[in-house]
Amino acid sequence: MEIVILLIKVFVVFNVIMGLASICTWVERKGSALIQDRIGANRAGAFVETDVFLLKPVAFVVRWLGILGVINTLLCDAVKAIFKEDFVPEGTSQFMHCLAPFMAVLPVFVSFAILPLAPDFEVMGYHIRPQLATIDAGVLFLLAMGSIAVYGVALAGWTGNNKFSLLGGLRASAQMISYELAMGLSIVSVIVMYGTLDLFEMVKAQSSVWGIFQSPTAWLSFIILFIVGMAETKRGPFDLPESESELVAGYFTEYSGMKFLVFWLGEFAEIALFSAIIVLLFFGGWNIPFVQLPEGAWWAALIGHLVLMTKIMFFCILQIVIRWTLPRFRYDQLMNLGWKILLPIAMVNLMIVAALKVF
Amino acid sequence: MVPVTYYLTLSALMFTLGIVGVVIRRNAIVVFMCIELMLNAVNLSFVALSRLVGNLDGQIAVFFVMVVAAAEAAVGLAIIISLFRSAKSVETSDANQLNG
């Protein structure tokens, strides 16, 4: 029975990742079109192409809502990617070239394993904690996975066997290492604030007040983590590693087909991951302001889960909007921001939080 | 439970591989990595023995080994980069002169 519960958990978590990533993909395509005042992905709409006059309003509404359009677009993307030529550049190790996208995705997916996705509940006599793995190191595990994520891009850049992808890989790894420090420090300040490493405990501590209001400088940690999140996903104004005007497409220049799609997926999964971390750490997780859900009820867990997903989606969309709004940084600006602004602020913030904790 | 001697034997094997690597490889970075291998072998036996004797001191020692390894990596790689600048190579056999 334990195994079954575990399998169900795996299934749920996997679907959460895929769902979030897929929705993000669609939002990105449609949202960017909206921002840039164009139609966007318009070749694969809903299956509601009709000449029947009476059905036309329905089709219009359905297409406008895009519910089916989402699925349709994604399906078409996948099919397109599968049927594309799987290109491997000459003079490089094919194994490494294949390994790179998965190395990029793996840490992101594994990170989801420790995120609690809903409050505890009881069903059929089993007490279920909707979290795939309960690890003693807790949040530190996120940091560990974040630090491994570099290998994917570095390897991708290297196996591209051309200068643009190598430069992209170098830029990406330098950027990720640089911003990891600020991320680590701001997460440590959160750990100090809650006094625990367990994400579950952290969310529980926010049942009455959201974490961002629990400490006078928590908003600093949030802002740092948010910026770092965008930098770690190499998106938004931080997309130097793949800046198309300079490096073609950076480290995945030589990737096509399914491998490219995996990178793509990993990118959106990472957006969702950072949104989830921010929501869990600062915005109450599944807690609804001024509403107390009963403990242990399966329906409460379901509601909690939906609330959590809504919040995560909010931050995903926020990130996408920022990505399509702001121009790209220059490389020195990027490094200055990471080392000379975020890192010192994060350090001072950590000291303040620690001091507040002690006195 | 796995006996501690298993871990120790594994550690010895890993250490030996590290030594052999240091002796036979000529790329400075690989030599550096082989040293890391040896350090990790020792770390492993530290943790295993910490478990054997039932206190955490061994794990603390590992922590400090990691600190030293990090410092070593920073300085060592900087040396290798400047070596590369002056000798246009990272072969240990090309770094046989005191003047840069």
């Binding site: - | 030594i19 002796v23 056999s93 046989n96 002169q97």
Partner: protein, 630 residues
């Protein structure tokens, strides 16, 4: 006697020490601040001394142990200070006159580039001198003794860019080393006999051990210590450095080479009076040496043309007077003359400095003259001091010098029996000569018409103020101290014989020697200036002798310096170049050869080194596992 631990004692030397350091550090950037810092430091030390003297009850004695200096085996030496009436007098002189001279120097050295160095050294000197007089045991005294020697060396060679000045500093240093050797021998013998160097304990031990078999020891010790004193206080045969010491800035000559440091020997004898009293033969030698020194120096001073050289020989001569008193066993008179001499000689030196300053660094009296009208204050104070040193009643010099002659005459030292008939007239002649040559210097400098080419002017108030104060002290110091000093010093130096109060007429009568000297001097160097020339012609060779300082320097060069140089040359060639260098070079050659051999293992290949390490580790493991059986 009560023994109080008084922390204030520590402050007396501490102020000049701090002042020295501060003057040097702050003076590097702010040259003018150095002088005021140093002056303030020594004035503060003076204030502490005055406060202590005022507060000190009759018959009391302060004792302060700063820290235990070292402790070897059973021998523990404290860095301790002792403050009794003798020390009080010395401290007052050192800090009081020192402060005045500091003030004077601020103006005198105002133009000098290295004045921060000057004031640092000057304060360091004050510190050492205070250690010397405050020290509660011989070793602390010796530290001060060496310290003042060092400062004297530094200050004589202050303008070290002038090679002959630097040489003068070196000469002073080397000559003093000879004296110090004697001092050290004396000290060692004392320690060997009594296991202590503390003055109080020594006095105790010696008073208990006055047995006859120890008398030779006391004689030798006293003689050794006196050798030290001849070095520091410029007596025959070690007086040659003092005239050369005039190379230093004039305030230095006033402070170190007239008022304080050179009197250290006298102070030391007074401090160890209990020892010298048990060695009458040594005392007799002291007295004889002193008389001869005074005589020779006075004769030399007759023909010198450099104003500072005259004063230098005069100092040697006056020191001779002090040692006469000490040799006669009447220590309070020695101290008395020390004090009055400090007043008028400091005044004279500062006056000479003022003249030199006014005449744009002219020191030759032949290029002076008629300065009376141009620098009236300097002339007046110089004149008063001249009268004082000549021993005219009621100026200070009269009392002390008269007391010295009386003491010599009335001495009960059996070893001097029969010699007194020679010594006393000699001392009287010397007193006459003193008056004569001082009058000569006064007349050549201030009277007549100006013979130089500069435009002399009076010195600023900061220089004349100390002159006025010192002249005032020279004027009344004798009257004031003549009555009080013997009683004040009685607890330390023993009660003096009471002698009646003398009237003004008697005083004037007794100062006939001085009056005669002044009279003859005035006659010779104002109205009848052909007389000296005639005399010189008549006694030609003798005057040459005097002019060339009795050829002491040349004598020492032939007897001491030349043989030493020869020995040094031999040692250099044979021992240093041959043996020591040979050993060093040989060692280097061995290292060189073995290095060539060892070099072959150093390929410069990191991998090889790693391999060697691996092999060595294997070897160690092998030993550990199979041979060690640990």
């Amino acid at each position: 006697m009560e023994q109080n631990g008084v922390t204030a004692l520590g402050y007396i030397p501490l102020f000049p020490l701090i002042g020295s350091v501060l003057a040097f550090i702050i003076g590097r950037s702010k040259r003018d601040a150095a002088g005021w810092i140093a002056t303030l430091a020594s004035a503060m030390a003076f204030a502490v001394v005055v406060a202590l003297v005022m507060a000190m009850p009759e018959e009391a004695e302060y004792y302060y142990r700063a820290f235990t200096w070292f402790s070897v085996g059973g021998f523990t030496l404290d860095f301790a200070f002792r403050f009794d009436h003798l020390t009080a007098v010395m401290c007052l002189v050192v800090t009081g006159i020192g402060s005045l001279i500091h003030l004077y120097s601020v103006a005198y050295m105002a133009e000098d580039e290295g004045r921060h160095r000057f004031f640092a050294y000057l304060n360091l000197f004050m510190f050492s001198m205070l250690l010397l007089v405050l020290g509660a045991n011989l070793l602390v005294l010796f530290v001060g003794w060496e310290g003042v020697g060092l400062c004297s060396y530094l200050l004589i060679g202050f303008w070290f860019k002038n090679l002959s000045y630097a040489g003068a500093g070196r000469k002073a240093f080397v000559v003093n080393r000879i004296g110090d050797a004697g001092f050290l021998f004396g000290m060692f013998m004392l320690y060997r006999q009594f296991d202590t160097l503390d003055f109080a304990e020594l006095a105790q031990a010696i008073s208990v051990n006055a047995s006859p078999e120890l008398l030779p020891l006391y004689f030798v010790v006293a003689l050794c210590l006196f050798v030290g004193a001849t070095g520091k206080s410029a007596q025959i045969p070690l007086f040659v450095w003092l005239p050369d010491a005039m190379a230093g800035p004039t305030p230095v000559s006033a402070l170190i080479h007239a008022a304080t440091m050179v009197t250290a020997g006298v102070y030391m004898m007074a401090r160890l009076n209990f020892l010298f009293d048990l060695a009458p033969q040594a005392q007799a030698i002291v007295a004889i040496v002193a008389v001869f020194t005074a005589m020779v120096a006075a004769l030399t001073a007759l023909t010198q043309n450099d104003i500072k050289k005259v004063l230098a020989y005069s100092t040697v001569s006056q020191l001779g007077f002090m040692f006469m008193a000490a040799g006669a066993g009447v220590y309070w008179v020695a101290v008395f003359h020390l004090v009055t001499h400090a007043f008028f000689k400091a005044c004279l030196f500062l006056g000479a400095g003022s003249v030199i300053h006014g005449c744009h660094h002219e020191q030759d009296m032949r290029h002076m003259g008629g300065l009376w009208s141009k620098m009236p204050i300097t002339a007046a104070t110089y004149g008063i001091s001249t009268l004082a040193i000549a021993g005219i009643y009621p100026l200070s010099g009269y009392f002390s010098k008269h007391a010295i002659l009386a003491a010599l005459e009335g001495g009960h030292n059996p070893a001097l029996e029969g010699l007194l008939e020679l010594l006393v007239p000699m001392a009287s002649v010397t007193a006459f000569l003193t008056a004569f040559y001082m009058t000569r210097s006064f007349a050549m400098t201030f009277l007549g018409s100006y013979r130089g080419h500069a435009h002399p002017h009076e010195s600023p108030l900061r220089m004349t103020a100390p002159l006025i104060v010192l002249a005032g002290l020279a004027l009344v110091g004798g009257l004031w101290l003549g009555g009080t000093l013997p009683h004040y010093l009685a607890p330390v130096l023993g009660s003096p014989a009471e002698h009646g109060h003398e009237s003004i007429i008697e005083g004037l009568m007794h100062s006939w020697i001085g009056i005669a000297g002044i009279g003859v001097g005035l006659l010779c160097y104002t109205s009848l200036s052909q007389i000296p020339a005639t005399i010189y012609r008549v006694i030609g060779p003798l005057s040459t002798l005097s002019l060339n300082k009795f050829y002491f320097d040349e004598l020492y060069a032939a007897v001491v310096v030349k043989p030493l140089e020869a020995i040094a040359r031999v040692l250099f060639r044979v021992v240093d170049q041959g043996m020591i260098d040979g050993a060093v070079n040989g060692t280097a050659a061995v290292v060189d050869v073995s290095g060539e051999v060892a070099r072959s293992t150093q390929t410069g290949q990191v991998r090889h080194y790693a391999f060697f390490m691996f092999v060595a580790a294997l070897l160690m493991l092998f030993l550990f596992v199979f041979a060690g059986r640990v």
